[in-house]
């Protein structure tokens, strides 16, 4: 890893000021950024840790009943919030391994938008709002393709707000070496219908499976999508699985998620 300056500001304003300089990257838990820097795929001249910013930590329930999760809240902390949002807690508890969950953050995961990460499926599936230092971004507008988001240079995720679905579940077919999702599906039954978000499968990153959403909105049972298939066009094809295999898994995991939703 090339050397860099390290800063650990204690307010969002100070972090944003530091990030406005050239060639500076924000550091959450570092579980993706540090390995990336070791491989010299990133070589910032300065790294700004967000971990000391008190206002970006923790979980609370807002007046409208939605769950607000601070940007630097770890996967382990989200996993412990089972009674508030069981579907999200279970998803967080399945990311990586215990030591990774102790460091990795929700804001870091969403800012990186790895095409096989778990959190993008939850944010898009539950219809979350990504709150940054500058604005509120609906999940539907936030994810813009593999490793691409609506975030501007130097913009940081300070909070993620999840409306709590009536029922939800995440099913992940794990790639056992990396523990990322070979395919993951988050299903949420919300007030005005059903949302189905798929990670790990598409070359365009996380996406909503609208045909399944339509079928499930009138009949929320696994049987309602028994005959539904997804085209393999645009699916990721690599040594772990072909596009056709991933497309098949999307159907299987969606049915399992519907059956398990609570």
């Amino acid at each position: 890893m090339y050397n860099f300056e390290f800063e650990k500001p204690s307010t969002i304003a100070d972090a944003v000021a530091s990030l406005a300089e050239e060639d500076v990257l924000a550091l959450g838990g570092g579980q993706t950024l540090l390995p990336t820097m070791k491989q010299r795929l990133a070589s910032p001249s300065k790294v700004v840790s967000l971990k000391a910013i008190a206002e970006m930590q923790g979980i609370c329930v807002a007046d409208d009943g939605s769950v607000c999760i601070g940007g630097t809240t770890t996967h382990a902390e989200v996993a412990s919030g089972e009674e508030v949002f069981p579907g999200l807690a279970a998803l967080a508890g399945g990311i990586g391994d215990p030591a990774v969950r102790a460091r990795g953050t929700i804001g870091g995961s969403l800012a990186n938008n790895d095409p096989a990460a778990c959190y993008p499926a939850a944010a898009l599936g539950a219809g979350a709002t990504i709150v940054t230092n500058a604005r509120h971004i609906a999940a539907d507008d936030y994810f813009q393709g593999m490793f691409t988001t609506a975030l501007e240079e130097g913009e940081i995720i300070t909070e993620v707000r999840f409306p709590i679905p009536e029922a939800s579940n995440y099913q992940k077919f794990e790639q056992p070496a990396s523990r990322f999702a070979l395919v993951g599906v988050f299903v949420a039954k919300v007030a005005d219908g059903v949302r189905v978000a798929v990670t790990g499968a598409s070359e365009d990153g996380v996406f909503r499976w609208s045909e399944a959403e339509t079928a499930l909105s009138t009949n929320f049972t696994a049987g309602a999508i028994a005959e539904l298939t997804l085209s393999e066009d645009g699916m990721i094809s690599d040594l772990h699985g072909t596009g056709a295999y991933r497309a098949h898994l999307v159907g299987v995991l969606t049915r399992r998620a519907v059956a398990a939703a609570s």
Partner: protein, 161 residues
Amino acid sequence: MSQVKMTVNGKEMSGEAEGRTLLSQFLRETLGLTGTHVGCDTSQCGACVVHVDGVAVKSCTMLAMEADGADVATIEGQAAADGTLNALQQAFQDHHGLQCGFCTPGMIMSAADLLKTNPQPTEAEVRHHLEGNICRCTGYHNIVKAIMAASGQDVSSIAAE
């Protein structure tokens, strides 16, 4: 270079670190605590697991500067001052939970992390908690057995030798 201070196994320690200095590097090369092993350096293997402020982390995927001011526990602090092994270490010896020993520091630190929050884990819970720790010798059975034994459970019927 900056001065980094931390409490390691109950003692105040400090040393110089660059921005890029990893916690694993700082412990091993600056503080001379080479019990923390670096197996893969890609956060897969778990040989470098230490506790930072009471939580198990992979020290190869944390910067030394991120741990400035923290309370760090490593394998060196697990045995008593006179060298008497703690219950977990003794169980690893009794149940042949190691062969080459390279992964053992990380295994012990991950297992200690589990037993702190779940003092009587099931076999499945032990295996789940060790997902981020790789051992290439034992096939895991005896490691799992040692951890179950250290938690005071009967292990006579667990897993093949």
